[in-house]
């Protein structure tokens, strides 16, 4: 049984790596090598960083068998509050801290609603998406905020002029998340709750706490995402990000996370986020028309869903 599971996971990751290599080769040739230039690799990784960070939070939630559709609203609201605080002259470091707290609080509300009161994740987080983006817009009257202190730019600056800040941040988050999932009791319990909630409960796991914590992690990473985005754009607006949750879900599922719960890895999500960023970047470099880009991305999302479906049918056959 163990052997079968191991072989399956290898196959999943192997498939993703093959897809990434194929995409790299295709766009590498089609763009006459521009895709693999150092500047462009940096572009891809920076572009993947927000999706990667949010995707990791989404992976935690998906492993529990839930979903977090509130990430766009959470990022927008937190960004607008963060921007306001900076413009009001609140010390910069405190602003960052507050952004993480605000994001986590949204996650906590989601977690309590879903974990403690058993409300449907899809509906709760969708409603929270509306509530948070609405609060942000109401607070700022929907107007763009800019003129942030210069120090805020350093988050998206480069370390030693080589590694972009967002990429570094994504790597740190990925390592921490990997350790949590792989080497802590919480990680093991998360898989157990997502894989078979009843069995997990019967073995003494506090399902409610595990689920709540997963949403808080997702909310915390949304707060981090808000810090990243406001630093990247040096502004905050209610239109600064769109449909982030869809990209995050696509990255996680492409990376092998099952929408049914119980399965998922941080490494897979990061590769998924980079693959999506590479596809967007490659199509942009090739100058593919926006309409054709929609088709290509749609086909990839379709393929992602098909993979997940295939995975589920194999699991049930086993």
């Amino acid at each position: 049984m163990k052997e079968k599971k191991g072989r399956f996971q290898f196959g999943q990751m192997g498939g993703l790596i093959i897809l990434a290599v194929f995409i790299t080769a295709f766009f590498g040739i089609a763009t006459k090598g521009v895709l693999l230039s150092s500047q462009n690799i940096s572009n891809i990784l920076v572009s993947a960083s927000l999706n990667g960070v949010i995707g990791i939070g989404m992976t935690f939630v998906l492993i529990t068998g839930g979903i977090d559709l509130s990430v766009t609203g959470n990022i927008i609201m937190t960004s607008l509050f963060l921007g306001s605080m900076m413009l009001l002259g609140v010390p910069w470091f405190l602003c960052l801290l507050m952004a993480l707290v605000i994001g986590s609080m949204v996650g906590l509300v989601n977690g309590i609603s879903i974990g403690r009161f058993g409300m449907v994740a899809f509906v709760v987080t969708m409603a929270m998406n509306n509530i948070t983006s609405g609060i942000g817009k109401l607070y700022t009257n929907g107007l763009t905020q800019y003129g942030f202190p210069k120090i805020h730019e350093i988050i998206c600056g480069s370390l030693f002029g080589v590694i972009p800040g967002p990429v570094l941040l994504m790597a740190v988050v990925a390592v921490l998340a990997f350790i949590i999932l792989k080497y802590t009791d919480y990680g093991r319990q998360l898989y157990a709750v997502g894989g078979n909630p009843k069995a997990a409960w019967m073995s003494g796991i506090n399902n409610r706490r595990i689920i709540m914590t997963a949403y808080v992690i997702s909310g915390f990473l949304c707060g981090l995402g808000a810090v990243l985005m406001t630093s990247k754009l040096m502004s905050a607006s209610s239109s600064m990000v769109t449909a982030t949750e869809m990209d995050a879900i696509a990255a996680a599922v492409l990376g092998g996370t099952s929408l049914a719960g119980g399965v998922g890895t941080v490494g897979g999500t990061i590769i998924g986020a980079i693959t999506i960023a590479m596809i967007t970047n490659g199509l942009n470099l090739m100058g593919v028309s926006p309409f054709a880009q929609q088709i290509v991305k749609g086909v990839i999302i379709f393929a992602v869903v098909a993979i997940d479906s295939f995975q589920k049918s194999r699991r049930s056959a086993e």
Binding site: T31, V34, S37, Q39, N40, N43, V46, S47, L50, K137, N141, G142, L143, T144, Y146, C156, M229, K232, L233, M234, S235, S237, S238, S239, M240, V241, T242, T280, N281, N284, L285, G287, P290, F291, Q293
Partner: protein, 381 residues
């Protein structure tokens, strides 16, 4: 009587055919630059003797209900347009209900249907899709609710009775920027290499801006060339990525055309991160042209990072809509169209741009002094 109707109809048809440019003011306090002559006449605006006593300005819309269905109250332009119209209607004693279609044309059509039950005295709508909105507007016609379209019209042959279309020439917003680039290339003798940041290409507005721009560039192919275009869906973070991708693929690009200031903030930040955000007049400056001239656009010009903005005046649209609503409810006839050309804003005239208004105090603006549409209803302060 018949002659008068024919005369009025003739004037309106003339206005529709010729259009009307505006020299509207960019601040509520100051009169506009007189860029256009005889605006009233061109608009087909009919003068009429005022009957009855003048009404206090604060009671002009007393007991009247206005619904404004915006396309997407998600960026500075639309926020200001919405807040300003709301403030004007409320300031005149009326009720103003705002709907936000969130960029979804089906949702917008449903909102139009929903508004029938609310029985507004006038419905103002900024269509997302020139065709998709038509059936809902036809139902509004059947319900006898008058319609004003704002910024975007509906397609020409639609069988819909519109009270007035207050409309920016979206193609001219692109065209005026393209012409600037071509003229600059002629002046310097260096062919412009352009990358374009597009809006949401499922909207007519984005397509028209792109078309207006590209038509001028294609007609002047020896002076300018579009190297790449990327859709960014009005999203500054997507614009950021788009500019980085396009500038990497085409390092020879020396010009950026951004289809809206809402995305411009991301596009400029991308240039900054690539070390290419250099003020105008200095070596390595990337020519940057955009649309709207909102507060962010004004700041970009003042900092020397934006060379030209095609002004797309949110406040002016709302002011005209308000004055038309007042005239309509007081029994005056309205022109079928108020059709805007745009004004090019650059470092020399950016101080006059609408984006310099105090956008945090929209309700304190009062009425604009502009000559694009003159209110016919008599009133007292």
């Amino acid at each position: 009587m018949r002659k008068r109707i024919l005369l009025a109809a003739g004037l309106m048809i003339a206005a529709m055919l010729t259009g009307c440019s505006t020299g509207a003011s960019n601040t509520p306090q100051e009169p506009a630059e007189a860029q256009v002559e005889a605006v009233e006449e061109e608009n087909g605006q009919e003068s009429k003797d005022v009957s009855g006593e003048p009404v206090a300005a604060s009671k002009l819309l007393e007991g009247k209900k206005v619904i404004y269905i915006n396309s997407n109250v998600n960026d500075d332009w639309n926020v200001i347009s919405t807040k300003y119209l709301e403030a004007l209607v409320k300031g005149a004693g009326g009720e103003c209900i705002i709907y936000n279609a969130e960029g979804d044309s089906a949702k917008q059509a449903q909102m139009v249907d929903d508004s029938i039950a609310a029985k507004p005295d006038v419905l103002v709508v900024k269509p997302i899709d020139q065709a998709a909105i038509v059936p809902a507007l036809q139902r509004l016609n059947e319900a006898g609710i008058p319609i004003i379209t704002l910024d975007m019209g509906i397609f020409k042959d639609a069988d819909v009775n519109i009270l007035c279309a207050i409309q920016t020439d979206q193609e001219s917003l692109g065209a005026i920027n393209a012409q600037y680039i071509v003229d600059k290339a002629k002046e310097t003798g260096k062919k412009a290499k352009i990358v374009t940041v597009l809006g949401d290409m499922s909207s007519d507005l984005a397509q028209m801006r792109q078309r207006g721009f590209n038509e001028v560039i294609e007609a002047n192919a020896e002076y300018a060339e579009v190297l790449a275009e990327t859709e960014s869906k009005w999203d500054p973070s997507q614009a950021y990525t788009a500019v980085k991708d396009m500038m990497t693929a085409h390092p020879e690009a020396d010009t950026v055309f951004c289809c809206a200031d809402g995305m411009g903030i991301g596009a400029l930040q991308a240039l900054n991160d690539m070390g290419k955000q250099i003020p105008a007049g200095e070596e390595g400056h990337i020519t940057f042209v955009s649309i709207d001239c909102d507060p962010n656009g004004c700041k970009g010009i003042e900092n020397g990072f934006i060379d030209q903005e095609a002004e797309h005046n949110a406040a002016l649209h709302s002011d005209i809509a308000f004055k038309m609503i007042v005239d309509y409810v007081n029994g005056y006839e309205l022109p079928e169209h108020v059709f805007f050309q745009t004004t090019a804003r650059n470092i020399e005239n950016v101080a006059d741009a609408w984006g310099n208004l105090d956008v945090k105090n929209v309700s304190g603006w009062g009425w604009m002094e502009q000559d694009a549409y003159v209110m016919q209803t008599a009133y007292t302060e």
